[in-house]
């Protein structure tokens, strides 16, 4: 794990880098960490395309990377700005939670402007937020939203169609 964050920080030489690359390729857990760390890096740099396919894309990219790794480590060093070495030793779950809270450090948090006397507890999800199928509880919002949706309008469909569908799923269980 330490080696990986060093690698990402550009602190490893060519030989060690190759070694880590092989490890990541072989060890599914390390592979996952590698994807996660890059995701974290992306989020911290404000590229928030938190796509679910990210890991696969990294894996695909990794698989297609040329074996010549030597010049790489120097240039990647800007990554160190984000103190990932330290972060990488923290458990991944806590880190993602931390990121969720400091999602947007440049912007004053609504929690603070809104209720300075009772600061809200940090939002710390135990893992990266995964999308689940709607269970019908959101129907009211869904329908209220679709009254204003131009695409629903163009489709010419009743704004309540999605609501009917998701209530059907709940009943159908």
């Amino acid at each position: 794990m330490d080696k990986i964050s060093q690698w990402m920080d550009g602190e490893l030489g060519g030989h060690e880098t190759r070694e880590q690359l092989t490890r990541v390729k072989q060890d599914a857990e390390l592979h996952h960490c590698w994807g996660l760390f890059h995701l974290i890096g992306d989020v911290m740099r404000g590229e928030r395309a938190l796509s679910q396919e990210f890991e696969q894309r990294v894996a695909a990219r990794l698989a297609s990377e040329p074996a010549v790794l030597a010049p790489r480590h120097r240039v990647v060093s800007h990554f160190a700005t984000y103190a990932l070495s330290a972060a990488a030793s923290v458990s991944a779950a806590a880190l993602v939670g931390w990121l969720a809270f400091f999602n947007n450090p440049l912007v004053p948090q609504p929690e603070l402007t809104q209720a300075p006397t009772t600061p809200a507890p940090a939002i710390v999800p135990s893992e990266q937020l995964a999308s689940v199928p709607s269970d019908g509880k959101m129907n009211e919002y869904l329908i209220a939203h679709q009254e204003f949706s131009p695409s629903t309008e163009i489709q010419g469909l009743a704004p309540y169609i999605r609501g009917v569908s998701s209530s059907r799923q709940v009943e159908g269980r």
Binding site: A100, A120, V132, Y141, I154, Q155, G156, A158
Partner: protein, 343 residues
């Protein structure tokens, strides 16, 4: 674009500057559009307008399939416009638990036979008939519109209209509109990887026909007399309002469409509702006091719609939109109370 960024990062380039530079170069290359492209785009817009109008003004009845994730659901729809005034619609599920929705102008009655319940609600449906040219200029900024060919749906020839998103903040759309009337026979929403997220398509359709009240009457009309009737949403109201909430980072291409306070069925307090749109896709932000149990952050989806719930201090924020989850979350996460008038 993201591929470029990612690649440059892995291969050691400076990801952040590449990210900034690429869209500019890219736009520069694309901007000098050919006259033929302009004409094609205008045709695309004409078709969008035609579709929106057709579905509101035509009489039609048919069976359609709603497909999302790995589910396929079939429903029957009847739509009639009374020449003397009034729009009537009946929607009936054909598989799974029976559901029947009858709409008479803005009153929506939903029959739930298994629960022996009728809910009657007031809905301001179709509030945004496609407003030209303002709305379409938003579409032009954010999507490449093209007419790609003909297809056949439910036995009718139809024109394929494709809207390709210009960035990753929105999904792609593909419509097939009946050649003569413009009625959309098929609508597909596609992810950034061109995967089908959601699709509506007629499998059988009758266009035209005379208005008949019987056709839009509930089959449960008599049976439901002793069912439970839920009127609670009949008095739903909304008023334009300054909610005091704003976005610090509004996603590119999205503009605020409306801002109001409204009642939501099952809530005792008025809920703030702000709608952002890029001309085609919309994202709604709902803000209300926290329920007794503080909700956890959650992300869910229904077809192409993503829903993100997030507590913000003593408020619950629910963001709903037919956009990628990242767009919905960006809006939720950059919501800020700028104080002042009521919340």
């Amino acid at each position: 674009m993201a591929q470029n960024t990612r690649q440059s990062f892995l291969s050691g380039g400076d990801g952040s500057s590449v990210k900034l530079a690429w869209p500019i170069i890219f736009l520069g290359l694309v901007a000098p559009a050919f006259a033929a492209e302009d004409a094609a785009r205008q045709d695309g817009f004409d078709w969008l307008t035609k579709m929106a109008n057709a579905s509101r003004r035509l009489n039609y009845s048919g069976t359609f399939v709603y497909q999302h994730s790995d589910r396929i659901e079939t429903s029957r729809i009847v739509h009639f416009v009374n020449p003397a005034g009034g729009e009537f619609e009946k929607l009936e599920t054909l598989d799974g638990p029976a559901r029947e929705v009858i709409r008479t102008n803005d009153q929506v009655t939903c029959y739930l036979p298994d629960a022996k319940t009728v809910t009657i609600e007031k809905r301001s449906t179709r509030r945004f008939p496609v407003q030209l040219p303002e709305q379409l200029s938003g579409v032009a900024d954010n999507y490449s519109v093209s007419i790609t060919g003909m297809d056949r749906v439910a036995g009718y020839d139809c024109q394929v209209i494709v809207l390709e998103p210009k960035d990753k903040l929105r999904y792609g759309h593909q419509f097939c509109a009946e050649t003569r009337s413009g009625l959309p026979l098929r609508a597909r929403t596609l992810s950034e990887k061109n995967q089908l997220l959601e699709s509506f398509a007629f499998t059988e359709l009758k266009l035209g026909g005379n208005f008949s009240r019987d056709q839009v009457r509930s089959r449960y009309a008599a049976k439901s007399r002793d069912w439970k009737v839920d009127h609670s949403a009949l008095v739903l109201s909304d008023v334009p309002a300054d909610t005091g909430w704003t976005l610090t980072r509004q996603p590119a291409g999205f503009r605020k469409l409306t801002e109001l306070k409204r009642s939501i069925s099952g809530r005792t307090v008025m809920v703030s509702h702000i709608v952002y749109s890029d001309g085609l896709a919309a994202v709604s932000v709902f803000i209300e006091p926290l329920p007794k149990t503080r909700p956890a952050q959650s992300l869910s989806h229904q077809g192409a719609v993503n829903i993100y719930v997030r507590p913000v201090a003593d408020h619950m924020v629910t963001v709903v939109g037919e956009t990628p989850a990242a767009t919905v979350m960006q809006i939720a996460n950059s919501l800020e109370f700028r104080g002042g008038r009521g919340k």
